[in-house]
Subunit: 198 residues, 2 copies
Amino acid sequence: MSSPEIDALAQALARLPGLGPRSARRAVLHLLKRRETALVPLIAALQSVAANLSTCEICGNVDTRNPCGVCTDPRRDVRQLCVVEEVADLWALDRSRLFPGRFHVLGGRLSALDGVTPEDLSIAALVARVRAGGIEEVVLAMNATIEGATTMHYIAEQLRGLGVRVMQLAHGMPVGGELDYLDEGTLAQALRARRLVD
Amino acid sequence: MSSPEIDALAQALARLPGLGPRSARRAVLHLLKRRETALVPLIAALQSVAANLSTCEICGNVDTRNPCGVCTDPRRDVRQLCVVEEVADLWALDRSRLFPGRFHVLGGRLSALDGVTPEDLSIAALVARVRAGGIEEVVLAMNATIEGATTMHYIAEQLRGLGVRVMQLAHGMPVGGELDYLDEGTLAQALRARRLVD
């Protein structure tokens, strides 16, 4: 790998999450051996995205359209809004197709440690969306972390009195989870939220 | 991920070795969020390689120069030649900087199962390089597999009588290896090649 161009490509690929220096070199080799079937199509795909990239002005999703494909989808139930921390969370929930409504991306979570305040997140825009009317239920789908919970409670406070149901995700044992391997916090949640056997 | 451009990029990335669908989506998100610092530089690195890509006419290495950087490096000992199966093997050995000579890439290994015959590999070119003179030692650095060994013995036969020392790599316990976890073949090799304690 003495060529500077190949080195530069390996370094650019190694910066992607999930690829270390070793797998980046394997990826480079894969691309070098398949110029027409892998290298050229990858360049085209990247260029197409780079040329059309934008952030949705309504929900904060990253898409090649603005407003994004989720916000313009006529089959979505506009009465339900799911609030998430990051675009990755929106994609994860959207892939599962379990949520029929639209989304709102905060762009992070409140964090005293990292100096993230409500002004750094898309909270004012969320309140404005709810105030504009038409939304009946807001699901606060934050991560199950301390910062996620702090963010959730702060937003719930902001939405109080706006006439929407503010919901949170259920906590408990993950499907397939084994009691013996669960952390104490999850166990406590699962016990606290216990319900009658169907 | 409803945009076809983003889907196409995720699929192109997922085809790279080491990236599955999930990590490809994370990589896409990483690129989308860092248009100027990650997406644009990656496109530039790929284009630069695609524009200059070539296979070295001497050794079969993939490089942006032809002859490649290894073959044109004046500090290399031209009397020593290391024969490897794939370009990845050349890179692995070259990174370790343990071999001071030049390389020869076969482009695969003999395989009755996959129908790979000597004519499919760069063996005639290897014999021609050795016949051309100047080479004193050939190290056959094939993989320690049945097919690697078959290939090694075939090439050793072709090089017989050409006045070069034909060597193979040592087999035995890997550094840091624990006896209890080694396979029987490695144990047998390590025992067979035993030597006096220094």
